[in-house]
Structure formats: C-alpha cells, structure tokens
C-alpha cells in the first residue's frame, strides 16, 4: 500500500489550480491525469473542456486570457507534438500558456510508438519558447506545478511541468 503522500499529488495540483484562480481546464485525457480531471469536473467554478486535439487547448487558453480568465492545458507527452505551431500564438501575443504534461515513452515504457514523441517532448517545448520543469517524485509535483503557473501568468509565456513516467508508473498492458 503506497503512502498517501505518494499518491495524493493530483489533489495537490487541484488545490494549486484553485489557488491560482484557474477557471478553464482544457484537456485531452491521459490516465495520469484521471484523478485531477475528476476533481476539476466536480468543481462548478471550473469549465472543463475536452478537446479533439491538444492544439485546440493552446488556442482556447489564448481566448480565455483575452477575456480575463486563466486556463490550464492537461495532456500527455504525445499531445505536445500536436501543439507546436499553435504555441506561436502564446509567444507572439505574449500570453500565458501553462501546460501540465504526463510523460510517456521514457522510464519503463511498453509501447514503441510512445518513445519518439516522449523523448522529443522537452526539446520541442523548449524550441517553441516554453520554460520547463520536471517532477519525477511525488514531492516534486506541487512545487513544480506552482512554479509553472507562476511563470506562465507572471511572465506571459508558455510554461510546462513534465510529470515523469517514474512518478506515474509505466502502463504495462498486463505484461
């Protein structure tokens, strides 16, 4: 039985979204975000928007900021590849774009298709001007997410926390 402190980091992220006044949550689901998504869906002050592709979320967060609301984008590392050109909107307009990315294609990965984009995720985000931090242990999550939200909203740019596969546990497909 894992220690509660090791498993309640999604609740800590939810508390941070509340503390930072996040009103719009854009997402393409990932198992690693499932608990956080449930918490957001249960919160009437948050507008949770399921997307057909992750770049929609980058555009949506820009629209939210135009209207004075803060948003966050939740996605898996493979979705980062779908966002590349749209990140130019946040860079050129100088607007916040905080992203919380659950990593695949690294520590203990089972699925070969996850590796290329998972390995390219930090490079691609940084190439598009995103400031990054990583969380590979439960105690890294809250400080990292808080830093990402502060960077995005105080300095008006894309920022991301990568939630490592070591933290999430690799998906094993029963093998």
């Amino acid at each position: 039985m894992p220690d509660a402190a090791d498993t309640d980091w999604p609740d800590q992220i939810y508390d941070l979204l509340k503390a930072h006044g996040i009103r719009q949550v854009a997402l393409v689901p990932d198992a690693g975000h499932a608990r956080l998504i449930r918490r957001c869906l249960a919160d009437n002050t948050m507008k949770v928007v399921s997307l057909t592709t992750e770049e929609e979320g980058v555009a949506m967060l820009f629209g939210a900021w135009l209207g004075g609301e803060k948003g966050v984008l939740l996605m898996q590392s493979s979705g980062v590849g779908n966002c590349i050109n749209m990140l130019s909107v946040a860079v050129a307009h100088r607007t916040p774009c905080p992203m919380l990315v659950t990593m695949r294609g690294e520590y203990g990965e089972f699925n070969p298709f996850q590796v290329p984009m998972g390995q390219a995720t930090p490079t691609v985000l940084e190439a598009m001007g995103t400031l990054l931090n990583r969380a590979d242990r439960p105690e890294d999550v809250a400080p990292g997410v808080d830093a990402t939200l502060r960077l995005a909203f105080n300095t008006f740019r894309p920022a991301a926390t990568l939630l490592g596969q070591r933290l999430l546990g690799a998906k094993t497909f029963g093998r």
Binding site: V49, T52, F62, H93, T95
Partner: protein, 200 residues
C-alpha cells in the same frame, strides 16, 4: 449589397454589414483575408486580427466566449483556416456557448498562397459538418438578406451559431492591422477588462 464577378457576395461588404453598429461585439479575425476584412471595417481594440495560429480561431472564440458569457463573440475566418481546425466544431458543439458565433467567409480557395482550391470547392459542406457536430443553428448563406439576418442572430446570443457565407474569390486591397501581436492582445484586453487587464 455588393457582389463580385461571380455573382457571389463581396467579402468586404459582408463583413461591413456584420460589424455595423456592433455594440459590445468582440471579434476574432482568422489569419489572412478575414483579418484584413475586419480591419477594413474599422481597426478597433475589440478586434483581434490574427497573423498566425492557423486552425485556432474558432477555439480562441470558445475560450473568449466562456470567459465573457454576457458579450457576443464573433469569429470571422476563412474556409482554409476552418478546415485546418475542423475538430473545433465538435468541441464547440459539446460546449454550446450561447454567445459564440463562428462565421466562415468561404471563397473556396487559399487566398494568401496562390489561390489553390480548398475542399469546399469540391463540395465539402462546412455548415453540414457544424450541424452534425451539434451546432443546431448552422447556416449556408448566399444573399444580402441572409447576411442581415445573420447579423441579428449574432447579437441575439441564442447560439452557438455557425454560418458559411459563400463569397466571391476576388482579392481585395490589403488593409493591415498592427503586426505586433502583444499590442493587439493588450489593447483588446484593456477594452474588455479596463486598465485592470494589465495588473491581472
């Protein structure tokens, strides 16, 4: 209302009619000709003309409409831009914000890159796709009377609303908005939120 050589509506005349006496209307203009069209109608802070982010205009409208639910939000974009982000119709169809209208100025071509044909030239029915995605009021427009009715519907905020307006393919004079996107963003936010926008 002015028409072009094809007999179809003139895009600038359509946009001027839609933006006439616009009140509290907030407008996002998709990159290329729609951005020049909304600028031609009047370069005001409540316009956000895009220079990039192709495929994102409708979703920007959704984020804005959710943030400002008491103000009408109009996305004016092109057929190529809408096709690139066509999944947004499904996302909007699920969210169904009453104050969001997405209007596609459909000249059936990529106008900025040499007038290559888009899928709408070959029968792709964007209004039908919007309706099938759950946007019940999805219109295909060809006449000035229909444009006037559309203007009323945008302000009535009984959406979400989608309209595909068939326009003449002739290119119009370039009327460029400011190119510094930080200015476009900041002036828009100040117009919506007041000076507090810069202290958020």
């Amino acid at each position: 209302m002015q028409t072009g050589p094809s007999g179809k509506l003139n895009r600038r005349a359509v946009v001027r009619a839609l933006l006439e006496e616009r009140g509290g209307l907030l407008v996002i203009g998709g990159l290329g000709a729609p951005a020049w069209d909304i600028t031609d109608a009047g370069d005001v802070p409540e316009n956000l003309p895009l220079w990039g982010g192709m495929g994102g205009a409708a979703m920007m409208g959704l984020g804005l409409a959710l943030a400002q639910p008491t103000r009408p939000v109009l996305v004016l974009t092109g057929d190529g831009e809408m096709l690139m982000g066509v999944g947004a119709l499904a996302t909007i169809g699920v969210q169904r914000p009453k104050n969001l209208a997405v209007v596609v100025l459909d000249n059936e071509h990529y106008g900025e890159t040499g007038m290559q044909e888009t899928h709408t030239r070959h029968g792709v029915d964007l209004a039908g796709m919007a309706r099938a995605a759950g946007i019940a009021d999805a219109r295909l427009l060809r006449t000035a009377d229909e444009v006037q009715a559309l203007r009323g519907a945008v302000h009535a905020m009984a959406g979400p609303l989608f309209a595909q307006v068939k326009v003449d393919e002739a290119s119009e004079r370039l009327v460029l908005p400011p190119r510094e996107a930080a200015i476009l963003q900041a002036r828009f936010r100040e117009a919506v939120l007041g000076a507090a926008a810069h202290l958020q």
